[in-house]
Every structure is written in C-alpha cells, then in structure tokens.
Symmetry: C2
Subunit: 222 residues, 2 copies
Amino acid sequence: MPVTVLLVDDEPLVRAGLRAVLEAQPDIEVVGEAADGAAVIPLVRRLRPDVVAMDVRMPLLDGIEATRAVLRTVDRPPKILVVTTFENDEYVYEALRAGADGFLLKRARPAEIVHAVRLIAEGESLLFPASVRQLAARYGEGEGEGNLAARAAMERARLTDREAEVLRLMARGLSNAEIAERLVVGTETVKSHVSGVLAKLGARDRTQAVIAAYESGFVAPG
Amino acid sequence: MPVTVLLVDDEPLVRAGLRAVLEAQPDIEVVGEAADGAAVIPLVRRLRPDVVAMDVRMPLLDGIEATRAVLRTVDRPPKILVVTTFENDEYVYEALRAGADGFLLKRARPAEIVHAVRLIAEGESLLFPASVRQLAARYGEGEGEGNLAARAAMERARLTDREAEVLRLMARGLSNAEIAERLVVGTETVKSHVSGVLAKLGARDRTQAVIAAYESGFVAPG
DNA sequence: GATCGTCTCCCCCGTGCGGGGGAGGGCCGC
DNA sequence: GCGGCCCTCCCCCGCACGGGGGAGACGATC
C-alpha cells in the first residue's frame, strides 16, 4: 500500500516539482493537488491522503490555519508536512504549534523530500531538527530556524521519563554500555530507549539527537 | 618502557591511593612523590618522569604555579596531569592555561585514572572534556566545570582550518559521507580529519566531539 | 476483563565509525 | 635543501551502533 500524498501550494511550479519527485517513487502516490488552504478540507475528506504537503504562505487560507482546520474538523487526520521557503520563521513555528507533523524546505534535494514524506507517513515520528540544520548548513546561513524547529520538535515529541533520562546521558557523551551501567539495566534496554529517542526526534543517530537536545534547550551548555 | 609518574599532592592518603591504582598497572611506574609544588622542579630534573600528577591546592606552591615553573625551567618537560577535587573551577582553568596537559577528578574510578595517565603520556592529546562531563554526570551535579574544561580544551587544542570546518559540519549532524560530499573530498579524507579532531579534543567519538563543540562555545545553539 | 503505554530484554544483521597503520604532494620556514 | 605541517587518499580491522523484528511484565485506564 503506497503512501498517498496531497499537495497544497499556490504555485503550480512547486506542485509540479513535488509531484515529479514523489511520483518517481514506487511507494509514493500523489492523489491530489490544491492551490490554497481553503480547498484542503473537502479534498482531505474525499481523498483521505496519508500526508498533506502544505505550503505556509497561501493567498486565501495559509498553511497554519489550514493545518488547524484539518486537525480540528477531520477525524483520523493525515500527517501534515509543512513546506516552506524558509523565509519567515514565525510562520513555520506557528504551523508546527498548530499541529503540523513535519517540516521541509523547498530547497531540499529530491532524496530528502522523499525521505521526509516517508518518515512522516510512517509513524509518530514528528520532526527532524538535525536534518533541518543540515539543510540550513548545506544551503548556507539561516541560523535560528533550526533552533525553532528543534524546540518545536522537543515540545511535541513527548519523550517518556526513561527516554528523557537516556537522552540526557547521551548528551553527556556516554555510550550505550555506560548508560546501561549507570541505569542498572541491560544494554538491549538502552538501545531500545535510544531507538525511541531517535524516532521521536527524527534523528538519524545519537549525534543528531544530542544536537537536537542542545538546540532545543533540553540540555544547556555550561 | 613503562610510563613513569611523579605524584604531587599534600595529602599522603591521596598519594597512596594514586600509587596503589597506578602501580597495579604493569606499564605504569610511580617513580616519586612530593608533598608540595615547591619540591617538584628538582624531582622532575632528577627523575625525569613522563607524567606529573599534580594537585591544584597545595600549601606552599600550588599546582598552577608549580606547572608554570616546571614548564618554564625544565627542558623537555613532563606531561602535567592536573588532579583536583573539583571544588574550584578557576584553579582548574588557570592550571590548564598555565600549560597543564590534562585534567582529572580525584573521584574518578581507578580505570579512568589509569586511562587518563596513559592518554596524557602517549601523545599530544590534550584534554578530554567529554570524559570530564561523564565524570560530572556519574558523580552527580557539578555543572559548569565541564564547560570550563571544555573551553580550555578548545583553546589549547589548535584545530587546523580543515579540522575546524569538519567539526562544524559534525556539529550539524552530518555523516562522514555527507561531509565528504559537501567539502568535495573523499570519505577517507574526512575520516582522517575526524580522527584528528577526536584526538585533539580527547573525544572518544563524534558525539563527544560535538558535545565539546557546544560546551566550549565553538558552536552555539540557535 | 481488555487495552494501552511503558519498561524491560532478546534475536539477527548490515554498516558507519574509529583505530592504526602508511603515503604522496604542497607550502612554509629554517 | 631539508624538515615540518597540512591536506589528501589508501589499506585492514573490530566493534558499537542502529534497524527491524518480537516478547513478557506491570500499571493505568476504560
């Protein structure tokens, strides 16, 4: 069963680009398009996509309001992937607060776009601040956006007590074995918690998780 | 050829403890002891130890002054490992600025003490802020000390331009392959730089290096 | 009673990572 | 000229890491 995606962007060119990128994947299917947030709700009801790729800036109803509207009025709502050009942070942040599940730059490489859609579709995995930072680094500058995204991610990624404890120890540089020793549990257990942390933060490895911890203020230098 | 160590601490108990721990190792030999910094220089000249384990607080000549004196007056000076109870950060920081090569908590476990001595003896590897943080975490509290040590480590660990660049990208969560792609070099080259960074920071893995980068202010959140 | 989330531990398995070597070329300073 | 540092790339190798499963025990909630 492929991942179904609804594209919502006022620029036809962007929609076409996203469609081209996503349709190239055998496991992803673009089931519809909309030019404005105002058209989203009926489309979501009818098409029931797994993921809505939603632009932030749209003429009638912007991505934030549209996200809120979808989550408020549709039961079993789709995952919402916020797509932005990265210009205005507050919009992004607001969209995430409104309940969006992920965050993507239009400038991202095709492989990353695909990856983001799959990630969002797959699970409760919410955001991937480290990836955002990567993009920011790759395309230069843009300090601060990653931070907001990271903070939002940490706010929304409700780690369990144990996971939070593990993350704190990871952020002190401890290995899985050392964490296990410290918490008096097996290494397999630690690995399990680490996996949980990585999934919820959308981090690829422990380094990205630690970065997210610092960026979000979960741990602070000094 | 074993690593030779000179112990300098005003507390006989501490000296005895260090001696017991270190002498248990076949490759480490305690060649002398001193009760105060004032006695260090002649002993160093005579015994020519590889490492001096130096307490910070001592009645006549403290570890900072003693470190300075040794480095100033002895040619091919020994490595200096600062031993402290962790109570006063400025002393530690000052000692490191004075030219000490490493940093050790008295509360450290035997295996870690041994490891520290070997590390210091082996090479130009300077400090290991992440390890310090581990100790701080393991024995609870003590926020801030790690930061000072980390900052000192970064100041003294003169990374090359390329290494600094690599560290920045590591701190954005990029893998070796991604860093290679970004810098347009081979992955082997990146691994080489990463190894350099780890050695100079005394980090065990990239996660600890990134932690050191944050703790030292080399990279800042947000 | 049934369900869900959390914490715990287990398996297999691929691979990215890091250590330890070495080697060549370029640049700079002695 | 020669040594030293830096950057580049190469080899082999062991292992911690992380993915992808599963499973049992406990408590809370319904």
